[in-house]
Amino acid sequence: MQALVVAAHGSHLNPNASDPTYAHADTVRETGAFDEVREAFWKEEPHFRDVIRTLESESVFVVPLFISEGYFTEQVIPRELRLEEWDPEQWDSDGTTASQVTLEAEDVDKTIHYCGPVGTHDAMTDVIVQRAENVTDDPDVGEGVGLAVVGHGTERNENSAKAVEYHADRIREQGRFDAVEALFMDEEPEVDDVTDYFETDDIVVVPLFIADGYHTQEDIPEDMGLTEDYRLGWDVPAAVDGHRVWYAGAVGTEDLMADVVLERAADAGADIGGALESDTGRRADT
């Protein structure tokens, strides 16, 4: 038997913080690829601490629903899961290349495949593009359009900026959009000046965040000048300095994220059969 644990932050204050976690876990449940699927949280229940013991499977794949490698993926989750002999070096990552490491936990007799975060997986690049397609309602969006991928910045660790740049670079290489920029909330180049970085009339802005919350629903819309006051909402697209800004909201709420979770587990050796949504789509096309 194999189990999947989707490990997320959660919140003591905001009941919606866990919505994307539940949604993606449910999508994976419905594929039937795993015998057991659990959500686990730092601030909600089941806590990371107790989740593994609720499983009957002997093989457990833990996928952190986090944007970047850093404090949570390197310290908090492994510690709380009681992963024996964990050392971030085992990921042998340059900040965006963690894939998986196989470990045991102190409190259960199981094999734990501890995966890198969803945010740095290559498949995440596709989710960002998909997000741009959905917000513009244009499956071919790109030509004549600029794309801004927005992140926190280095506030807590430099890897968070690396993840944003990594995907921005990959999308730029596809040559699909006229321009692609990585912008940040707390460092240069800043999202406040989004229109300075694009010559195109249309700019799609996709925040690389797991859940919608204070940053994506209050700060960023106000900082970019989409609205005076987030409580009043904003238009999509919104007119800013002669540009049309299509603001997408947190990428983590995109349905295709479930595929990234599955791919992370598959990379770590999980047998997921034909569970990927993107595969199903491809099959349907042919």
Binding site: H12, P15, K43, P46, R49, D50, T54, Q75, R79
Partner: protein
């Protein structure tokens, strides 16, 4: 009553693989040629296969009971199986190689009495949940032989007609039901005694029941099972506090006596249905009662850790002495105000109940009288030098 063919076939197949079958009072031995059948009520020997099939008809409940646990539940040694057995008051001893049959306080039921009870429905409480185990109505269909189904609702709805409840059958619906309390406020602590009522899950399978409870009260079954087996791994306050990093790194500085106040604030039964098993540290027990909950709490939860951070910062301040003018009744009113907030009672105080010190008009009056223009209480710090 006849034994469904599929049940008999699986019984014979099991005996071929491993004789004897010995389960919940049923014992069947096979010496290759003949069978021997034994229950607490009767014993038959020297049976051939046809004799056995006929003989089993007189102990059909034992047979379908074996079949349910063998085929439908399985999972020997799992928390799921132990919990489902607890639900119908099945003896524990059959599960484990231990002699301590007296470990559970309530009387286990042997098969005949258990089947009588299951036809009516066996009720159990788990926090604010009421669980009923019942036998599927007797049909002769092989796949429902001995099958149990489980119903689940709020203890407050035990006497409510099913027609008046919102009925669910997908375990995941429990997530939505457990998100907010009656006032629509978010419940960050799943085991707070504030679960809303008015709903029911009916006809769940055993796995679905366990999954549903996993959403209402995450990990409670797993830790209960560990406790039952004597393997609950309790992490005391100090171990948990010292493990923290980042913004919670400070909480191991919370004074010893403050941990008493913290548990009295957060962990008592009126606030949380888990029974706190963690102490200050091994050998240093917290005096506050851990509660009578059905399932244990093995370490300070994330909510308590987050609150402890605030209290650690607050407790780092030195005490000072203040002078302020209050009448004896005003001093008493301050106590009433604190009590009302601490007991979550402010919503219940009637608009015109000016006899209650925590009444809004009373509080506004006190503020008008005793606060200065800056909106703070007029108090002077006393310096003894």
């Amino acid at each position: 009553m006849t034994i469904p063919a599929a049940v008999f076939d699986s019984l014979i197949a099991t005996l071929e693989a491993e004789s004897p079958i010995a389960f919940d009072g049923l014992r069947i031995d096979c010496d290759g040629e003949t069978y021997r059948l034994e229950t607490p009520e009767r014993e038959r020997t020297g049976l051939d296969e046809d004799d056995l099939e006929a003989a089993l008809e007189s102990v059909v409940d034992y047979v379908t009971n074996w079949h349910y646990w063998q085929e439908a539940v399985g999972g020997t040694g799992t928390a799921r199986r132990a919990f489902l057995r607890w639900c119908e008051r099945a003896p524990r001893a059959a599960e484990m190689d231990t002699d301590e049959t007296s470990a559970t306080s309530d009387d286990p039921l042997e098969v005949p009495a258990r089947y009588d009870a299951l036809r009516e429905g066996v009720d159990r409480e788990w926090g604010q949940l009421c669980l009923t185990t019942r036998l599927v109505d007797d049909t002769d269909a092989a796949d429902s032989a001995g099958e149990r189904v489980y119903d689940l609702w709020h203890v407050d709805d035990a006497d409510t007609d099913l027609a008046d409840l919102e009925v669910y059958d997908d375990p995941r619906d429990a997530r939505e039901l457990s998100t907010n309390d009656d006032d629509g406020r978010y419940r960050p602590l799943k085991t707070a005694p504030t679960l809303v009522s008015g709903w029911a899950f009916t006809g769940l399978s055993g796995s679905e029941l366990v999954e549903t409870i996993g959403f209402f009260y995450p990990a409670t079954i797993a830790n209960w099972h560990r406790e039952l087996q004597g393997t609950l791994d309790v992490d005391h306050w100090l171990e948990t506090a010292e493990r923290q990093t980042g913004i919670y790194d400070v909480i191991d500085e919370l004074p010893r006596e403050a941990v008493e106040w913290l548990t009295e604030a957060c962990c008592v039964d009126s606030q949380c249905l888990r029974r706190r098993e963690w102490q200050y540290e091994d050998g240093d027990e917290i005096a506050v009662d851990g509660g009578d909950g059905q399932f244990p709490c093995r370490e300070p939860c994330s909510l308590v850790v987050a609150a402890a951070r605030k209290w650690t910062v607050l407790e780092s301040e030195d005490e000072r002495t203040y002078e302020l003018e209050l009448t004896p009744s005003e001093l008493h009113q301050l106590e009433e105000l604190i009590d009302a907030v601490a007991d979550g009672r402010t919503d219940e105080i009637r608009e015109a109940d000016v006899y209650d010190g925590a009444n809004r008009y009373r509080a506004r009056y006190l503020r008008a009288k005793r606060f200065d223009d800056d909106g703070t209480l007029e108090a002077r710090e006393r310096h003894d030098d």
